[in-house]
Amino acid sequence: MKLTFKGGIHPYEGKELTMDKDVIEYVPKGDMVYPLSQHIGAPAKAVVKKGDRVLVGQLIAEAGGFVSANIHSSVSGTVKAVEPRLTASGSKVNSIVIENDNQFEKIEYVKNEKPLAELTKEEILEAIKNAGVVGMGGAGFPTNVKLSPKNADEIDYIIVNASECEPYLTSDYRRLLDETDKVIEGLRLALAIFPKAKGIIAVEDNKPKAIQKLKEVLGNDPDIKVNSMKTKYPEGAERQLIYANTGRYINSKMLPADAGCIVHNVDTVYSICEAVRQGKPLIQRLVTVTGDAITEPCNYLVRIGTSFAELIEAAGGFLQDPEKIIAGGPMMGKAIYDLNIPVTKSSSAILCMTKDEVSEYEPSNCIRCGRCVEVCPGRVMPNKLATLAEQGDLEEFQKLNGMECCECGCCSYVCPAKRHLTQTIAGTRKAILANRKK
């Protein structure tokens, strides 16, 4: 039986647009913007000021708390300003703006070629922390914090999330295929922190080449297993991924560590390897620039801070007027309304859709077909939750486990009445979380 979870959908994949094309390294020309808050947790504190000259890889903002991350410059140049700038979330975030001098003068990275057995746990975590590595799948949780759970002895699995279930995205696939050795080395480094953890690389079965290559490189490795999972959205959602691979359940009140698991994105594991072995901070990532409105969809190796506008220009600009531009994938990404926003550590894609691809419908009344209940991977009743949310009954909403929704968008996708289910539920969840904080 194939590894999977209950519920889920099969949307159009759209991966063929970029899947088999080589990654292009993009060299930025314009100003670079580094939002001080591109991770979960406290914003970083700027350590440079207007007029300072910085080099590639230089620390420009340090972690502003325990759950926070360092930020490094990805170009050489002068600091132009520290001011609020628009980010992919649609709101303004305090950012460091650097005028790029196009010299790309680097600082020296300190390499570490000690064999794995000689590396201490502290050494690895310190290197990850210094490099400012955060979860690159979207949420941006600081990796060193994730790798220091309270129950380190009880961690059984480190799962590399290579399912990339979000349609159109292929950056993780390219990373897996092009840098297989480094991804595996990164996983070994993470495993070295825990006494009894085993590694799992979980790949959806629509990426046979990646699975084959991983198996070839790993051979009969006792510590790392490659799991081929059923292709279904949202296979890569943390809770669903853990269930599919280990059979363990977690709910919204638990962390993966409570079930003895730690989940990392492919690019994060790669960055761990770069941070520990090369001493290289997180200043580059893969971004899929795709969609029917783009002339030449492709994966780009982008320096963090590059503006979306520059990147779209690099991809040949627009073939036709885009109807909708999304930062991230079509299911969980955020629509953006201005292209002057920077690539951050967790921007996985820029998706430009044409009018044909974006179909807008007027929502109508619920016809009680129950399809949303069938596909919901969180096993809640989106139809009821959305109605309660509309009525503003927050108590009943929580009683029916509204907080277990992971906002994956499956319910909205299948709803024949085109109700705005996910959006309504997500808005209410945020309102409840905000009330709790008060």
Partner: protein, 261 residues
Amino acid sequence: MGASILYAAAVIGIVGILAGILLGVASEKFKVKVDEKEIKVREALPGNNCGGCGYPGCDGLAAAIAKGEAKPDACPVGGEAVAKKIVEIVGGEIDSVRHVAHVKCAGTCEKAKDAYDYVGPEDCQIAANAPGGGPKGCSFGCLGYGSCKRACQFDAISIVDGVAVVDKDKCKSCGQCVLACPRHIIEMVPEDAGAIVECNSKEFGKDVKAVCSAGCIGCGLCQRNCPQGAITVKDHLAVVDYAKCTGCGTCKEKCPVKIIK
């Protein structure tokens, strides 16, 4: 035959008497103590359980007033007459100035630009989660999806040209709209306030201008010219101290964007 009917009657009779005694004792023993004040306050309240006060019906409000958690004039429907009766029961004072809700935004569809087209539920609370806190270019202004309108029990709020407008006569100053607004732009102001700033933007003047032609640019002309010193500009936004304002109208004249009403 006759004897069995008597038995049955006797058994039922005894059970009846025992149950009666038990209930009598229980009702004394487990008596719920009710504050006498609360009963009187409850009698003074209108009793239509509208919920406009924010408590679960008139019983809830009566309990809160008796405990001193709510003010004697907390019933928005009863007005002064009811408030006076309640003051006689629980004491305290009535706020003599009537307050009405006011939406601090004049950014109508024409004056305030939208940053993008919003597709989704027509509800401010949900729209406020869209990128940038909603489609309106100004992140402080009225979204116009009517969450306050739905919260109002008295039909006092209407959406006119993309901005919520309060009908002062219908407003019962219950404050439900203030709680419903995700952008916190509804404020309770004295009914006879001399000057009200129709903007809530704390952005720099330049940024306000970029998105709205009816926004406070924080120039400070009103602050400098107010003879009473009743206006201060804080976070690039003019704020009126209603206690000091005499309604002379100087600020209205001096305001270059004409947003003091």
